[in-house]
């Protein structure tokens, strides 16, 4: 690829076909949260009854915002900053805000993949022993006693984390440098079927464990009164929203690599339902396994600790695997699945950053991969392979997701639909290139319903963080790492918007041309050529 061509003239990279696009989008959506977040959230929010708000959220927020991302990326054919700039000059800032979020998530997400890689290795021989909590927190992560004897930041590196972390960064840089078709798409085409097979074996095996029915009872027994609780609905919208990789630049970037006449809405349905299908599948596997573990410990499933988040994966699951026949094999399958699910999401997150800088600075993808991957790798190693890495990760993850991504979604919906008034044009675009047509319900969902629900989520979360703090961490620490990160995203976004484009970005001629007057009839031939 030339290093000095402008975004206007440079041939855009493309997926080789529909399957590559769909598998890559599924690979991005299906991540660690599908495996360790959904089962616990469903269990804690009404069990089987949770599926009602979950499906409502999928149809009214998940799929509509996914389509909004697709429409922006595909119509304006650029990374998030360029696509938003093509809508309106100052919307570019939102694009850089999303790039900043992706960069921050990438630096800690890689550490979790490194943990999974280590535990994949430890599975052969079940090296975590009987006390898996001590093994994970003390022996493996060597977590510092912050707030006690140790400072909140150390540079005491943990080799067991550092080595796999460096390995993950090297592989990630190679994949990004290889490009969209030969790197990102190829990884997804190999890993997604492998993930399905590996996790499928695990789930089927878990169903035949003694006590599996107790676990499934715990997950699916409906508690209908939960539907009257607004928090349960918010939890459902949150789960769908975080799970689908929407509203922080990924799906905008991925859709921009779709060919001009590529179908958008039907592949979007496949991506959304595949993501939910996988997490439901994961929920069955996780709770069937927890039923077995509860039986082994002679307690009820509800009395088990650590049924969600990293503790589920790195403490509860190793304990469970140790008690299973052929535990090494199933441990390897579980942690191998975590590595694959995490890695395909990671490359999508970093592709957002890489594509943005390729376009802004007119640099090649190799330069972008090396520069961005190198910088992110150094920050990742300094911040997350030390004895204080877990606390930093937990804090940054909370703010980047609950404040960063949710605010990005609300701002995107408001700017694009209400300020830029592009709802009609984007709906026209989706319907022009796709086989499944979206109606005015879509504009209602992305213009009114989703920003209201997500805005409420955002305000209540910010209020909780301000009043109660987070996990008992020192206020100065959450101020620096949590709120400081959000402030840094904003400053970064403004500065990058002010920075000049290395090559001129002129007026953009979107295809097909949207004529407000004749939009409803444009598909019958009334719209003029671009």
């Amino acid at each position: 690829m030339s290093t000095q061509t402008s975004p206007e003239t440079r041939p855009r990279e493309e997926w080789t076909g529909q399957v590559g696009f769909i598998l890559s989008a599924i690979g991005s959506a299906v991540g660690l949260g599908n495996i360790w977040r959904f089962p616990g959230v469903a269990y804690e929010n009404g069990g089987g009854a949770f599926l009602v708000p979950y499906l409502v959220a999928l149809v009214t927020a998940g799929i509509p915002i996914l389509y909004l991302d697709y429409a922006i990326g595909h119509r304006f054919r650029g990374s998030a900053p360029l696509a938003f700039r093509r809508i309106s000059r100052w919307f570019e800032t939102l694009g850089w805000y999303q790039v900043a979020i992706c960069f921050a998530i990438a630096v800690y997400y890689t550490a979790v993949i490194a943990w999974a890689l280590s535990f994949f290795w430890y599975s052969f021989g079940l090296r975590w022993g009987d006390d898996t909590t001590t093994f994970f927190l003390v022996d493996y992560l060597q977590v510092a006693d912050v707030g006690g004897e140790d400072p909140w930041f150390t540079l005491d590196f943990v080799p067991a984390v550092l080595i796999p972390l460096v390995l993950v960064w090297v592989v990630t840089i190679v994949v990004l440098a290889a490009g969209v078709a030969r790197g990102v798409q190829r990884v997804n085409i190999v890993f997604m079927p492998l993930l399905l097979v590996a996790f499928g074996v695990l789930v089927v095996r878990s169903l035949f464990l003694p006590g599996a029915a107790d676990g499934l009872n715990a997950l699916f027994t409906p508690e209908w009164s939960a539907l009257r609780n607004a928090d349960v609905w918010i939890a459902a919208y949150g789960q769908i929203f975080f799970s689908l990789s929407i509203a922080f630049g990924i799906m905008i970037t991925y859709a921009s690599y779709r060919r001009r006449r590529g179908n958008l809405t039907s592949p979007g349905l496949v991506v959304a339902f595949a993501n939910s299908g996988f997490e439901l599948f994961a929920g069955i596997g996780v709770f069937a396994s927890l039923g077995f573990l509860a039986g082994q410990q002679a307690v009820a499933v509800g009395d088990l600790e650590g049924i969600t988040g990293p503790i589920l994966s790195f403490v509860t699951f190793p304990a469970l695997v140790s008690q299973m026949p052929a535990g090494s094999l199933f441990g390897a399958l579980f942690f191998g699945s975590l590595v694959m699910a995490g890695f395909t999401s990671l490359v999508s997150i970093l592709q957002v950053v890489s594509a943005a800088f390729q376009e802004k600075l007119s640099i090649s993808r190799r330069q972008a991969a090396l520069g961005i991957g190198g910088l992110a790798g150094v920050i990742s190693v300094l911040g997350f392979s030390t004895t204080t890495g877990l606390i930093a990760l937990d804090t940054l993850d909370n703010w980047a997701n609950n404040v960063g991504i949710v605010s990005s979604a609300v701002i995107m919906c408001v700017l694009v639909i209400w300020v830029g008034r592009r709802g009609g044009e984007l709906r026209f675009h989706l319907n022009s290139v796709s086989t499944f047509q979206v109606g005015s319900w879509w504009t209602f969902c992305v213009g009114i319903l989703a920003p209201l629900v997500l805005g409420w989520m955002l305000v209540s979360r910010i209020q909780t963080l301000l009043v109660e703090g987070y996990e008992g961490y020192a206020p100065w620490y959450t101020g620096l790492v949590g709120w400081g990160a959000i402030a840094a995203f904003v400053v970064f976004a403004v500065l990058l918007t002010l920075a000049p484009w290395r090559s001129p970005v002129g007026a953009y001629d979107a295809w097909p041309r949207y004529d407000k007057e004749h939009a409803p009839g444009a598909r019958e031939g009334k719209g003029g050529p671009a």
Partner: protein
């Protein structure tokens, strides 16, 4: 498993996996739009 849990598990699997099946079937029957209005002949390979 109790009856309520079985019903909820089956219904949710039917809806989610059924939704996936229907989406895939829909996509296979019409993978791409094939007819384009006159005047929309712009090349696919441009930026």
């Amino acid at each position: 498993m109790n009856a309520g849990a079985i019903v909820l598990m089956v219904v949710s699997l039917l809806l989610v996996w059924g939704g996936l099946g229907v989406s895939i079937a829909m996509l296979m029957s019409r993978p791409e739009r094939t007819e384009w209005p006159e005047g929309w002949e712009r090349d696919d390979a441009d930026a």
